[in-house]
Structure formats: structure tokens, C-alpha cells
Amino acid sequence: MATPVLTQTVDLAARFPGKVSADARPGYAGIIVNKENLVEVATAVRDEFGFDLLTAVTGVDYIAENKMEVVYHAYKTTGGAGLVFRVQVERVDPIEVPSLINIWPGVDFQEREAWDLYGIKFTGHPDLRRILMWEGFEGHPLRKDWKEPFFEEEVKPFKSRWPDGQHTFAENKNPFRDNLNFPKDFDPEKYVVDKEEDLYMSLERDTTKDVEGNMKTDHIVVNMGPHHPSTHGVLRVAVQLDGETIIGLKPVMGYLHRNHDKIGERNTYLQNIPYTDRLDYFNSMSNNFGYVTTVEKLMKIPVAERAEYIRVIMAELSRIQNHLIFIGMLMNDLGTMYTPSLYAFEERELVLDIFEAVSGARMMCNYFRFGGVVRDIPDFAMQKIKDLVFERLPAKTDEMERFLNENEILVARLKGIHVLNAEDAIKYSVTGPVLRATGVPYDLRRADPYSIYDRFDFDVAVRQNGDMMDNYLIRFDEIRQSLRILEQAIKQIPQGPINSQKAAYQVRVPAGEAYGRIESPKGELAFYIVSNGKPNAYRYHVRPASFVNLTAVESMCKGSKIADFVALLAMLDIVMGELDR
């Protein structure tokens, strides 16, 4: 069943003569906007052309041309192709680009990220602090002229490994204490308090003010995390409280940051596949999917027919287990300790058995290759997939619903709490089940179909209220739809080769850029890759769903109770491997 694609030509050049120009570089698409006109053009893009969802803001450092570039990818929530526009500025500090935060508040974290990693100042951004690195960090690590203290070579493979590779420990070459670059006049004694101030200042600024005439109360700041069982990893949240009510909140992240983007630029294209496993470590299959789809777009190669089906099967199985775990973890955070989550883990284990049989590993699958997958599904694993899809999983989903859905305490904790309306959700670039629970039927498998999703008959799960309860229920709807897709995929899967390419440890990727996006279980997972024809990506950027969805958290929980915030974090379904990258 093909999805009709809205076709409306967007002619920005005609609308803004002299202010925009087409991007003439081979392999590039979209338009270049003059810096001075960015806000004006962006407003028109949203209001006149209807691109209401700004999914990605990406910095790129073109050091040879002495340019810094910011790329924007805008889409319509009604579906269809996107619009790429970009600004280029001289690569001389201070590099300034106007912030789009007043047009799309969802750019908040992404602009902070570009500031942090590239040093691009977004003028007009009210809270332009570092986000993944710590305040006080020296330099902007994604710039091409920045080198880490363990720096060995610009790209892999490193020459010291072969043909006379004597093993050495990296830390012997870089003794402890010397493995960090500090600013010149840095004093560790003074450091801690120094820049924390910024966080609390910004917290203070965005606090809801006391209502005139009410009793004057003191506010307290509570730091939840980074080691707190409810934060799903090492996330810290600074909360300003008035009694039990949240009046201001700032997430602090980056504790798990390893500069995945820079590692990706060092890796060859193939080497990077296992690294993507480690993004959202619950769904390595989906991450692989997103990455290889993007690179295939650049390489312009077809995918073997059977492999397409295998990919869909793996991605949907992954979605099912993710949503089951989601439900389990939500219950944990609500205080239903472990019983539901262990029930969920049983099903997840069975799904992971399948992943292990096909790929060799339960979590870090590394299963996809450019043009197909590594190996075919063995017969016993195929049988197990059938058993799960046709028998066990539908029954267990029903059981889970019977177990929890009507539970009065659960309903009381979830119904009507943290309502997010559709308009805000889009404004904050929220995607995935959280967006669909607000009544926006935006699912990339339908809205911008990739792989072979247009061949399957399924409904986009959507709920109307946008509260916690709907967010919870929509996961069940999605599991059911995934099962529907799986049933069709299992029936239709053809025999044949599983890779359209010959196995090669180095692939040729023509110069150009590609933005590939897939509907991961947590929302839109997108990769932006710039190739300059070399074996390594020139720019490799991940747009994780967890990270962008978290932008909305502040506005969502103001005015609600701190105890509900714990549930909200669970509901956004964040995973730190992806959030911090």
C-alpha cells in the first residue's frame, strides 16, 4: 500500500530573491540562506511553507574552505519530503548565527550542542551553556583542528598496528593526569562551584514566579541524579521546588558523553556500524538500520530483497521488546517494583535469543551491512520468530494489559498527568510515541517511508489526550501494529541473497551529504553524513530521539509534583547511551 506523498514545490529562491541561493556543491541539496535573513526565511519556512517540525540542527566544520555551516532539516508533520536549508559563516571566532529558538523552541538543546562542540554562538539563545562537555572544558572538540590528548592519528586504521605492531597500552604513553586538556589558568580547587552557578542562574531565570498575593514561600533546589535510580542512567536534573511543586527544571547531561560523532569521523564507514549499537543499547538493530540506510543513500546502492525483509523483522522485534521494557521500567518508577518489569524481561530475553542466533550477540548486534545483512536467519531462529509472533507475543501482550491497564492505582498515577498538547509537541520537535500520543499521526514508516514499509498494511498508532495514560497505552497499540507488520513480513519474505554487494572491508562512498531517518522505537533517529570521497566520513552526526525529546521536559512538568516527574522521565523513554552519545 503506497502512501501518497504531498508534492508542493518549495521555491524559496523566488520568494526571497537575493537572500537565499541554491547549494551548488555536487551531492548536496537545499539552499544556503544569508545569515542576516535566517530568521525571516525560517519563519516563512514554518508559516508559509508549512514545515512545522524542525528535526535537526547540525554544525559542520569546513576547515579547508574556512567556513562553519549550520544545517537545518525541516519536515511537515503531514508527511512528505523535507526541506534543507543552511547558513555558512566565516570560520573566525566569534562565529555567530542567529538562534531559531523563537521559531522552533525544539532547537534549544541542539543549538547548545552545536555551541558546545563547534563553538558556534547562537545569538538570541537565552541559555547558551555547554551541554555535553562540562563548563570549563577547553576548546570545541568536533572542530577539525581539535585533538584529544590520546590523539594517535587522524583516521583509522592506525599505522602502528601492522606490520610491526608491538602492543602498547595507551595510558602508558599518556600517563594519568595528562590525559586531559585544561584551560590555562585552571585551578581544580576553585573549579567546582565556579560554573555550576550558570546552571542555577538559568534555573532561577526560568522559574515560574510566585503569584501575587499568595503566601511568600522559599524555593529549594534539588539535584536529582546523576546517581538516582529513576534517571535511567547518569542523568542529572536540577529541580527548583516550591513545596512539592516543580517551578523550574534543567536537565544536566553528558556524563556518558564519549564524542560518538568524532569517533564516527575517525572510523571507516564499516567500522562505525558496531559503534552505532552502543547508542540506544536496547535497540541496536534499529540503530544499525538508521546508519546503514543513510550510508546506502550516499552510496546509491540497492538492498537485497530478502535482506529488506530481515531488516524489517529485526527492527520490529526490537520495537516490541523496547516497548515491553518501557512498560516494565515505567512501573518500576511508579513504585511497582520489578514484577511487571521482570515479566517484560522474559519476553525480551526470548527476542534477544533470536538476535543472538542471527547476529551472534544479544545486545550489540552489529548485524547490518551496506546492501544487506551479515547472514541469513538460521531455520531454528526463523521457527522461533514465527512461534513468538504468531503465538507467544500476542498472548503475552494481552496478559500484560490484563495485568496492568485497569489497575486503579496505575490509572490514578497516569491519567491526566503531564498533558502535552500537539502544538507544543511539534514546537519542541518531539517525535515518536510521545508525539503520537498527542494526536499527531506522524510515523516515519508512513510519513516518509524508508526500506519496504510501504508494502505493509498497518495503522499508525495514535491517541488523543497526550497525557501519561495515553503514552502508556500507545505502546501497546504499537506492539500490536508491529506484530501485524511482522506477520506480513514473515509470510512474504522471499528467498534469495542477503546482500546486494560483495563483502568488502572498505566501501567507496561518493562525495556528498545524506540525511537518513528512521522511526526508532523512541522516535526519529536520524544520521547526517557528509562524505568527501575518502574512506572515512567527513562529518557524522547522530540526531537521537531521546536527546531531542528531552527538550520538552521542562515545559511539561512545570507546575506538577516532583513524584510525577519521575514517571515523566520514564515516559519519555530516554536512554543515556543515545542521549549523551
Binding site: 583509522k156 586504521p157 592506525f158 602502528s160 598496528r161 601492522w162 606490520p163 610491526d164 605492531g165 608491538q166 602492543h167 597500552f169 572510523n267 571507516t268 564499516l270 567500522q271 562505525n272 556500524i273 558496531p274 559503534y275 514484577t339 515479566y343 522474559e346 530475553e349 526470548l350 535469543d353 543472538e356 542466533a357 542471527v358 547476529s359 551472534g360 550477540a361 550489540m364 552489529n366 551479515v374 547472514r375 538460521p378 531462529a381 522461533k384 512461534d387 513468538l388 503465538e391 507467544r392 496478559e399 490484563r402 495485568f403 496492568l404 491497564n405 485497569e406 489497575n407 486503579e408 492505582i409 496505575l410 490509572v411 563483502a503 572491508y505
Partner: protein, 206 residues
């Protein structure tokens, strides 16, 4: 009625709890071992599993599928008089494809001619850095490096394996990955036969 949903949920928990006994008892009545037996472990990861799900590691261990991968090892063939003939030619492909760059190979040079000979002098894999991706095994053109099934390698020190420690016999490989082994051996035989046939044809022509 308030509390109906809770009761409904509890009925699920109750059934699950009950199953942990009934399933054990039914295995007992059938005179079979549900625990500490391959059959029992397989049952616990099948679609019909109910009752107790946990596999009590380390007393019991999950049965890993053939494709399971942990850390790499080097395959050697047992030559005449027990000589270990390592298959690796030190071509360096695995070291180049390894994503975290944890393979270090020292190539051997013939002392008289100075030309490289296709056997590694030494071969290191830093197991603490290895991300168990399996690329080395996948792209080795000589089926010389393969992924192991043995995952109990926790230790108190850093694990840098050298050639000595990495080598395992082809029979071990055949044991953990029978299907792969058979497939590769067949391919190799076919190739050798083709080569022999070609040589024969050449000889006949000459």
C-alpha cells in the same frame, strides 16, 4: 467497583506464581529434569516457557547458538608430528578492519632475504578493548581468526593475548561452529580441486 482492576492484575500474578509450582511438578511427574539439564534450559527459552524462567548461572549456563561470538582466537591446523600450523598469513586485514584497533601484528621477515614470510612472529589482541564485533573473523580471507564461545574470561589483570594464548586447534573450531566449519572446508576443497584440475589441464596442454 474500585479495586476490580487490581484484583484482575493480581489474578495474573497469582497464575504466574502458581505456574512456578505446576510446571516443576509436571516435569517431575514426567521424570525429567527441569534444572541442570540441556533439555530444561532449552525449555526455559522456548515459546512454551512458563514458571521459573531464570537460568542459574554459573551452575547452569545458557546454550549459546552457533553464531554466538565473544573474543577472537587464531585457528591452527595440526600438522604432521603435532606441529601447530597457524593459518594466519599476517596479511593485516583484521588489524585494519578492527574498529577499536585492538589487533597488533608483527610480521616475520626472512632473515636471509629480508622478504616477508606469511607467518606472524607475534599477534596481540587487547581483549579489554575488543568490542566483540566479529569483523576480524568476517573479513579474514584465510579463515584464520574466528570468534570464540568461551565467555568466562573475567580476571584480575589486563587481558592482552599473544599468539601463544590466541591459538586454538581447528578441531576446537569445528566443535563450536560445526556448520561454519563444514561450509568452509567444502569451499576450500572445491577451490583446491579446481586448482588441481587447472594444473592438470595446463600440464596436459604443455
Amino acid at each position: 467497583m474500585y479495586g476490580k482492576g487490581i484484583l484482575k492484575g493480581l489474578s495474573v500474578t497469582w497464575k504466574r506464581f502458581w505456574d512456578t509450582y505446576t510446571d516443576d511438578i509436571s516435569w517431575m511427574l514426567r521424570g525429567k529434569k527441569r534444572y541442570n539439564s540441556d533439555e530444561g534450559i532449552r525449555h526455559r527459552s522456548s515459546k512454551d516457557t512458563k514458571g521459573i524462567f531464570t537460568v542459574q548461572y554459573p551452575e547452569e549456563q545458557l546454550i549459546v547458538p552457533e553464531e554466538f561470538r565473544y573474543v577472537p582466537f587464531l585457528v591452527y591446523d595440526e600438522g604432521a608430528d603435532g606441529k601447530k600450523e597457524v593459518r594466519c598469513t599476517s596479511c593485516g586485514i583484521c588489524a585494519k578492519v578492527c574498529p577499536p584497533q585492538c589487533i597488533w601484528i608483527v610480521r616475520t621477515n626472512d632473515p636471509s632475504t629480508g622478504r616477508p614470510v606469511p607467518v606472524p612472529t607475534d599477534f596481540f589482541v587487547d581483549m579489554d578493548i575488543c568490542m566483540n564485533c566479529g569483523f576480524c573473523a568476517e573479513y579474514c580471507p584465510f579463515d584464520a581468526i574466528k570468534m570464540d564461545h568461551d565467555f568466562d574470561i573475567a580476571s584480575y589483570q589486563r587481558n592482552v593475548y599473544n599468539l601463544e594464548k590466541l591459538m586454538k586447534p581447528a578441531s576446537y573450531y569445528a566443535g563450536i561452529r560445526p556448520e561454519n566449519y563444514t561450509r568452509e572446508e567444502e569451499a576450500r576443497k572445491a577451490k583446491e580441486a579446481a586448482k588441481a584440475a587447472k594444473a592438470e589441464a595446463n600440464a596436459a596442454a604443455a
